[in-house]
């Protein structure tokens, strides 16, 4: 019984002054989001394992803690992510209008490496669901800029990428669909030697290696790296319009005075359900992203027979507050 009072690794009690600060900051952020037209919602902590995450079920289910409900004999899962739950709420309204939501809650996920042992944390976030994209990026990045000011986060770096450009590059290279998840794992590790070994094993040519190696090098100042990205797209005869979304995002970020923007074409923040613009915020004093966000197709767009998309971000509030108290 000596460890009777011990908590599992990655689970913590939050006590003053962090608890007081957490409540205050959370309320300030939610009030701010509400003032920008985001409706506050609450999503359940527990869901059925076979449906959690909708289209992203396989990945979210794998990351979630699961247990059995003895009465229904079904497996239940603790939510590792809130965005996909919000998408289900949006589906209820069967609307073509843009819907804006903000949320707050605890998420738990299985630790993958020992570094990710923080299995439970508090997230504040927001999402917009839309049929037409007009004004969506502006709303998201304006809200992000406001949130950064409220949080008083300084010296941060924002990285931005676009999954749809990567997918387009892979399409042009006729990269096999069933090998893309494995490829994305390798790209996200940025290991050129692993990439070379993998392509060799799969019998994929040197041109693909050269282009993907160049893509791995795209991490740096927006102005320079956008030019490098353009060169890759030109070589593959990708329509320059495909780069419009990332350029437009950068312009909005600039308008919002969000500086230190880096382009990173192989950043896959959070879960892999993102399908368009993705972004993360980092700070030099910590080794993990503090804010993750992006665009994605909603889990229920097929059922709705409409291409409804979502865009949003979530803030790891505890990590930020701990960082600021250092």
């Amino acid at each position: 019984m000596s460890d009777f009072w011990n908590l599992p690794d990655g689970v913590e009690e939050i006590v003053p002054p962090l608890s007081t600060n957490l409540e205050k900051t959370k309320t300030e952020l939610l009030d701010y989001f509400h003032s920008k037209g985001f409706d506050l919602i609450f999503t359940p902590l527990v869901e059925y394992s076979d449906s959690i995450g909708g289209l992203a079920n396989e990945e979210l289910s794998r990351s979630s803690f699961q247990f059995s409900d003895t009465s229904s004999e079904r497996s239940l899962a603790l939510r590792p992510d809130i965005s996909q739950q919000v998408a289900r709420i949006d589906r209820r309204f069967l609307t073509e209008k843009n819907k804006k939501y903000c949320y707050y809650g605890e998420v738990t996920k299985k630790p993958l490496g020992s570094f990710t042992k923080a299995i439970s944390t508090m997230k504040v976030g927001l999402e917009i669901f839309y049929d037409s994209e007009t004004g969506v990026k502006e709303d998201i990045f304006n809200a992000l800029s406001g949130a950064l000011k409220k949080l008083g986060l300084k010296d941060y770096v924002l990285t931005i990428g676009d999954i749809s450009i990567l997918d387009e590059i892979l399409d042009k290279l006729r990269f096999p669909l069933d090998k893309r998840n494995k490829l994305k794992d390798i790209l996200s590790s940025r290991s050129k030697s692993d990439l070379s070994e993998f392509l060799k094993q799969e019998g994929i040519g040197k041109r693909t290696l050269a282009i993907l190696s160049n893509l791995l090098d795209i991490i740096g100042d927006y102005e320079q790296e956008f030019k490098n990205l353009n060169l890759i797209c030109k070589e593959l005869k990708i329509d320059p319009k495909k780069l419009k979304s990332i350029k437009q995002s950068f312009d909005i970020l600039e308008k919002n005075k969000i500086k230190n923007v880096l382009v990173d074409m192989v950043d896959f923040p959070g879960y892999s359900y993102h399908s368009g613009i993705v972004f993360s915020i980092f700070q030099p004093k910590t080794g993990v992203p503090l804010i993750n966000g992006g665009q994605y197709k909603t889990p229920f767009s097929k059922a709705n027979k409409k291409e409804r998309k979502g865009m949003g971000f979530d803030i790891d509030l505890i990590s930020i507050l701990k960082l600021q108290s250092k």
């Binding site: 490496g113 570094f115 940025r190 030697s193 880096l262 700070q283 030099p284 993990v288």
Partner: protein, 201 residues
Amino acid sequence: MILIGLPKGRIYKEIRQLLENSGIHLKEDKRKLIFGSSEKNIQFSILRGWDIPKFVSYGAVDIGIVGKDVLLETEEENFFEVLDLEIGKCRLSLAAKEKKVSELAGSTIASKFPKETNNFLSENFIDAEIIELKGSIEIAPILGISDYIVDLVNTGNTLKENGLKELKVIKEISTRLIVNKSKFRTKNKEIKKFIQRIKSD
């Protein structure tokens, strides 16, 4: 300022030479855990190789230099593997006294690298028992606790001296440069400049 973790042991000298060739001279001081270099903004710390992925993942050091063998076994993942330094080359190989590769099923394999050994077995649909040891792997078949070993092989002399034969190369190993994912963004220019210097050597 960037802080770089270097591994103790056999590849340290090679790494120091590589840095010297790039014009970065270490100011080693046995009394200090962190020491400077000829570059004002670059500091170093000598760490145990197996701990380097953890120090890098936590962002305690920005960059780590470590063997691929260690990276294959680590559970850490908060780093990018940005460069193959092409030094400290060796191979992770399957070896045995008398057994053949075709007799692996149902056997026992001693290794310091259980994760990569397991990957090799899974990829080849082979069921065998892995016995994890921390060192002196070559002695395992001699003392009869395993049929095979999976271990790092450089010249092959140690295997020969112990009556073992190298049966199959599982993975080519070399020294890699890893960078904390967050630090690669927040110290992007400094880190890229350092990588460029090492690359151009």
